[in-house]
């Protein structure tokens, strides 16, 4: 299949030139996806299902970098720049984390939240077994964590966070998503995500 050095050349993965225009990248991606997913007769007898799936993962990675102008810029600098880059600098994860650095610097919104520790309430949290929306809200307010910021960090719509705290199933998506949101909220609030989510979902599903 692909030689190891081609593995991180996303242009080779999508069979493009490094100077391809953005729309060509999208076309190449769509063709590649159609080729290696589903039952395309073109891969029959050549690639096994497993191999096709691996190729598809590579293709998705390649497109999530090259299909995004900012990420493609970072990638191009590393791939085509004067300094020879290590293969590990060209991985999907490495490019993504580099972009996060740039993104965070630009935003400059990383002030630490300060809250006054209340031993009695900490004890109540530790002993809590019945996790309700009301109590989640209480914890969040105690830790001085505004909904908007929480929403920014965990990438969940503030409307849903409010609905979780008010326990309004009609305003929420399917339970499997709600569980994910509750996990993320409790993790961000420094709680044991699994315990909280299990307990919350038990009430929610009733």
């Amino acid at each position: 299949m692909l030689a190891s050095n081609s593995r991180f050349n996303f242009y080779e993965v999508l069979e493009l030139n490094t100077n391809s225009a953005q729309h060509e990248i999208t076309t190449a991606y769509e063709r590649a996806r159609a080729t290696y997913s589903g039952e395309n007769p073109a891969i029959y007898t050549i690639f096994s299902e497993q191999e096709a799936r691996e190729l598809l993962t590579l293709i998705e990675e390649a497109y999530s970098i090259l299909g995004n102008k900012t990420l493609r810029n970072i990638y191009d600098q590393r791939l085509l720049g004067n300094n020879k880059s290590n293969p590990e600098d060209l991985t999907y994860e490495s490019i993504l984390s580099a972009s996060r650095l740039i993104f965070n610097e630009a935003k400059g919104e990383n002030k630490k939240i300060v809250y006054v520790r209340d031993e009695a309430f900490e004890k109540e949290i530790a002993e809590q077994t019945q996790w309700t929306g009301v109590f989640l809200k209480k914890v969040r307010e105690y830790k001085k964590y505004p909904i908007e910021r929480l929403s920014d960090v965990i990438k969940v719509n503030p409307f849903y966070i409010k609905a979780i705290e008010l326990e309004e199933p009609t305003n929420l998506p399917a339970p499997v998503f709600v569980r994910g949101y509750v996990m993320q909220i409790s993790k961000e609030l420094g709680l044991d995500a699994k315990t909280v989510a299990d307990s919350y979902m038990k009430r929610f599903n009733k």
């Binding site: 299949m1 030689a3 190891s4 063709r31 159609a34 080729t35 395309n40 073109a42 050549i46 690639f47």
Partner: protein, 326 residues
């Protein structure tokens, strides 16, 4: 060395500009049409490409090399002629003596072996001689339909053609055979420049590759570089002068991009560059007009298929001219 190359390039460009659609002592451009599987429409493709080029005002000769009961005449809507390829292969006549004119302007053809009741002997056949004789004929384009005969006998002739077109249909059986054809094409190319031992080893490695028992990913490029007795050049040449893939008989929207998929598979599996030149849609008027003994491009010149042939011809003719100019 460089200077000579440059002035030759300029000269070729001038010839191209002045030779407006007429033959001026230039060797004909020979297109080979082949396929991995029979019945995918080689004959139809060859006759239609020929008709399209002749409509573009080029002098065209179609050569039917099918040794298994040729029927180019049917695709052209003609009655079979007594004169055919057998006269050349039996060394009774030269190629130019067996050319048959057609009712269509600027288009002639050489009929394939049609009388199969006499067994055929190819042992004395010299493909280089035939190739050389083809190049002497005074046409702008010569289209050779290779049929499903013993390909080894015609391999070198196929190699010497200016364009090598491989036709596939979207059926899985045809796609599979197209890959097998490509594999054997790569190997035959490598064989001529390899020592027998090295070639034997390569074939064994390829067999393991196919059965998924290799430890490392296989790539022709690195294998040819790392192993003694083999040269990389034949493979590089295949990439510089790629096979042209044509998909015939597309019946649904979802298969429109099949050619791109096959191109990608060749690239990812063999590291081989294949040029996808376009598809021809399935069209009921094709078999209807064959039944009426009239080529579809004549009977129904405005069928979408005619446009698809036109763009393929333009693409192939232009890509060649761009290459020469560069």
């Amino acid at each position: 060395m460089n200077k000579v190359g440059l002035s030759q390039g300029v000269h070729m460009e001038l010839v191209n500009k002045t030779a407006t659609h007429s033959h001026q002592g230039k060797a004909p451009e020979i297109w080979a049409i082949n396929s991995g599987k029979g019945g995918v429409g080689k004959t139809f493709i060859t006759s239609s490409l020929g008709l399209t080029l002749s409509k573009l005002n080029y002098n065209v000769l179609i050569v039917d090399l099918d040794l298994s009961g040729a029927n180019m005449h049917t695709a052209l809507g003609l009655k079979p002629s007594h004169l055919n390829m057998r006269h050349f292969l039996d060394e009774q006549k030269s190629l130019s003596e067996i050319v048959i004119p057609t009712p269509f302007p600027k288009l002639s053809y050489i009929q394939g072996v049609w009388d199969l009741w006499v067994p055929f002997d190819l042992s004395k056949f010299d493909e280089f001689k035939m190739s050389a004789e083809l190049k002497k004929l005074k046409y702008d384009y010569i289209l050779v339909d290779f049929g499903v005969g013993p390909f080894e006998k015609f391999f070198n002739m196929f190699l010497e053609c200016d364009q090598r077109i491989v036709v596939s249909s979207p059926e899985p059986t045809s796609i599979e055979k197209t890959y097998r054809f490509i594999e054997s094409y790569i190997c035959q190319n490598l064989k001529s420049k390899a020592t027998p031992e090295a070639y034997h080893k390569l074939i064994n490695t390829l067999r393991d590759f196919r059965h998924n028992v290799l430890d490392n990913p296989f790539s022709f490029k690195s294998y040819l570089k790392e192993n003694d007795g083999l040269t990389l050049e034949p493979f590089n040449k295949l990439n510089r002068e790629p096979l042209k893939l044509l998909i015939n008989g597309i019946r649904s929207q979802s298969l429109m991009d099949l050619g791109y998929s096959m191109k990608s598979v060749c690239n990812k599996y063999y590291g081989l560059n294949v040029d996808y030149i376009g598809h021809i849609e399935f069209d009921n008027s094709v078999w209807q007009s064959v039944k009426n003994m009239e080529p579809v491009l004549i009977a129904q010149p405005f069928t979408p298929v005619a446009g698809q042939f036109l763009s393929i011809c333009k693409y192939l003719a232009d890509s060649k001219e761009i290459q020469v100019a560069a």
